[in-house]
C-alpha cells in the first residue's frame, strides 16, 4: 500500500468554550497549515468530519470550513461516521491523494457539545434505534460502557481499583498537554469516591462531552518532498482501517437493542478494527511504540489493549498494573491523556488521536514524550458499525 505524508497537524484546545464549532475547526485548520508550511490557497481538497448537533453547517462540514477559510475553489467532501468520523474524513482525503486526484488535502473536524449525557437527535422518531434505546430502556452511552465494564469484572476478575488506575494514569499523561481540557492529577481514592453514574463506573471514569477541533494536512510523498526538501522524513500514514462488522456481530453495541443471532459465531468486530490496519501496514502489535485508544470509559481502555493485540484476553489489568502502558513503560497507551483528559468532541476525536501520534513520532510531545517513538496506532469505534484505526510511522 502506498503511503501519504502528514505534512501538518493542529488543534483548538478542548474545553467548554461556548463558541460555534466552526471557530474551533478554523483555528485547528490554520494551525495545521502553519505547521505544514503551506497556505490555505495551496489546499486542493477539504475533507470535513460532520457534527450532527449543530444544524445544517454541521452536516456539510467540508464546505462549512472551506467557506470560513475563504472560498478558494477547493473540492470538498463531508462525512459522518459517529465517533469514527475523523478516520472516515482522513480516509476520504487519503483516497484522493492515492488516486492522484490531488496532491494536498486538509482534514478538519470540530464540535460544540451540549452539557451532560448525549441525547438522541430531537423530535418524536420511533423508527430510530438511537431514539428508542433512550425511550424504552433508558440506555445512555454510559449504560453500554458499564455493561462492558461489568463483563470484565465477571469474566476476568477486574476490580474497580483497576479501572480507577486507568484514570489515574491518563490524568498524569495529560498534565502537560496544552490541548487537554482536564489537566489535573487525580488519585485512585478521588476516582473511587466520585459519584456512581452507571454502576460499576463512576463520574471520573466516564468521558465528558467537550468542544474542540483538530486538523491535519495530508500530502503525497512527492508533494511533501517538494515542500519540506528531499531529506525531510515527515510522519507517514501507513494504514487507515474503516472496517464494519462481519455478520453475525454477537457483542451488544450502542445503540442496539440486541445482537445478531450467534447460532453461528463470527470474529469479534472490535478485534477486526486494528487487525485490518496492521494487515494494510504490514505491521503487528509487536511493532508499536505507542497507542491512542478510545477510552470512553476507564474500563473500555482495558478492552482495547486486548482488541489491538497488546495482550491476550483477560491480561489487560496485568499490563496496566505492571506499568507497561504508562509513559516510560513498554507500550504507552494514551500519552495524550486520552478522552479521560479531553472529553469527547465527536468529529474531531479520531483526528486528534492522529495529531498526538504525529507529535509523538516527531519527538514533539513535550512532557509526555514516548522515547524514540517511531510507530503508533490509533483505534476507535463509532456507533452503527464504524471501525477506525490509523497507523502512523516515521
Amino acid at each position: 500500500m502506498k503511503r501519504v505524508a502528514i505534512l501538518g497537524v493542529g488543534m483548538h484546545p478542548w474545553g467548554k468554550w461556548g463558541h460555534n464549532f466552526v471557530t474551533y475547526g478554523v483555528v485547528a485548520a490554520q494551525a495545521a497549515l502553519a505547521d505544514a508550511g503551506i497556505s490555505w490557497r495551496d489546499v486542493q481538497f477539504v475533507s470535513g468530519a460532520d457534527t450532527i448537533r449543530n444544524g445544517y453547517p454541521g452536516f456539510i462540514a467540508g464546505a462549512t470550513f472551506a467557506q470560513a477559510l475563504g472560498w478558494s475553489g477547493a473540492r470538498v467532501s463531508s462525512c459522518y461516521a459517529a465517533c469514527a468520523s475523523g478516520a472516515s474524513a482522513l480516509q476520504a482525503a487519503r483516497a484522493q491523494i492515492l488516486a492522484e486526484l490531488c496532491d494536498v488535502a486538509l482534514v478538519v473536524g470540530a464540535d460544540t457539545t451540549p452539557k451532560g449525557f448525549f441525547a438522541p437527535v430531537g423530535g418524536d422518531r420511533p423508527d430510530d434505534p438511537d431514539w428508542l434505546r433512550f425511550r424504552l430502556l433508558g440506555a445512555t452511552n454510559p449504560t453500554y460502557f458499564a455493561l462492558y465494564a461489568r463483563r470484565r469484572i465477571e469474566m476476568f476478575g477486574a476490580t474497580p481499583a483497576d479501572f480507577a488506575k486507568v484514570k489515574v494514569k491518563n490524568s498524569r499523561h495529560g498534565l502537560s498537554n496544552p490541548n487537554a481540557r482536564y489537566r489535573k492529577e487525580v488519585t485512585e481514592e478521588e476516582v473511587l469516591t466520585s459519584p456512581v453514574v452507571a454502576d460499576p463506573l463512576r463520574l471520573l471514569e466516564i468521558c465528558a462531552t467537550s468542544d474542540g477541533g483538530a486538523a491535519i494536512v495530508l500530502a503525497s510523498e512527492e508533494y511533501a518532498r517538494r515542500i519540506a526538501g528531499p531529506s525531510a522524513h515527515p510522519p507517514m500514514i501507513a494504514a487507515i482501517s474503516t472496517v464494519t462488522p462481519t455478520y453475525p456481530n454477537t457483542v451488544i453495541e450502542m445503540p442496539n437493542f440486541a445482537t445478531d443471532s450467534g447460532t453461528a459465531s463470527g470474529p469479534s468486530f472490535r478485534d477486526s478494527i486494528a487487525r485490518a490496519a496492521y494487515e494494510e501496514a504490514g505491521l503487528g502489535p509487536e511493532d508499536l511504540d505507542v497507542a491512542e485508544v478510545y477510552d470512553l470509559s476507564s474500563a473500555l481502555e482495558l478492552d482495547w489493549y486486548e482488541n489491538i493485540g497488546l495482550c491476550k484476553e483477560g491480561d489487560a489489568e496485568r499490563l496496566l498494573n505492571d506499568g507497561d502502558t504508562t509513559v516510560g513503560g513498554r507500550i504507552p497507551v494514551n500519552p495524550s491523556g486520552g478522552l479521560s483528559c479531553f472529553g469527547e468532541a465527536i468529529p474531531a476525536q479520531a483526528i486528534a488521536q492522529v495529531c498526538e501520534l504525529t507529535w509523538q513520532v516527531r519527538g514533539q510531545a513535550d512532557g509526555r514524550q514516548v522515547e524514540g517513538a517511531r510507530v503508533g496506532l490509533t483505534v476507535n469505534q463509532g456507533l452503527f458499525g464504524h471501525g477506525s484505526s490509523v497507523i502512523v510511522t516515521r
Partner: protein, 141 residues
C-alpha cells in the same frame, strides 16, 4: 384503573401468563432478528425476503448488567423522584441473541451474576393520566 398499553407496538406480546419478545425469522436461513427485520434478511450469504414473525424464547442467561444512578435525557420518561434502575443484557437460550431490557424492579443488582438464568416478564415503563405504558423486563428465573 389505567389502560395497560405497550410502550411500543409489535415488539412483544402483552400477555402476563406468557410474555414473549416478537422477532422475525428468515424462511431461507432460519436466522432471527430482534427488533423485527421485515423486508430483507441481513445474513450476507442469504437472499431471503420472506421473514416470518416468531415469539422468542422467554429464558436466557445474564451476559452483563449496569445500574443507572442519574436520570437519562428525553425521550426517557423518568420517575420523579428518580429511582435508579438496572439494564441487563441477556443471551437467549435457543436463538443466541443478546437482548437488552430493564431489570424487574424487585431484583437487586447485588443478586445478579453473569451466567444466571433470567426470564422475560412485563412491567410499567411510565404512565400518563389515562394509560400505563408497559415494556418487557428481565427477572430472575
Amino acid at each position: 384503573m389505567k389502560t395497560r398499553t405497550p410502550a411500543i407496538e409489535g415488539w412483544f406480546r402483552l400477555d402476563d401468563a406468557d410474555p414473549r419478545l416478537l422477532a422475525t425469522r428468515c424462511k431461507s436461513c432460519a436466522t432471527y432478528f430482534f427488533p423485527k427485520e421485515t423486508t430483507f434478511c441481513r445474513n450476507p450469504d442469504c437472499d431471503g425476503r420472506e421473514l416470518e414473525e416468531v415469539a422468542l424464547s422467554s429464558h436466557g442467561r445474564l451476559w452483563s448488567w449496569a445500574t443507572n444512578y442519574y436520570p437519562p435525557p428525553a425521550p426517557y420518561v423518568a420517575a420523579d423522584p428518580f429511582v435508579p434502575y438496572t439494564v441487563a443484557a441477556v443471551e437467549l437460550e435457543d436463538e443466541k441473541l443478546v437482548v437488552l431490557g430493564q431489570v424487574a424492579p424487585g431484583v437487586s443488582p447485588d443478586e445478579l451474576r453473569t451466567g444466571m438464568h433470567m426470564r422475560l416478564t412485563l412491567g410499567p415503563l411510565f404512565e400518563d393520566d389515562e394509560r400505563e405504558y408497559i415494556v418487557w423486563k428481565w427477572d430472575r428465573a
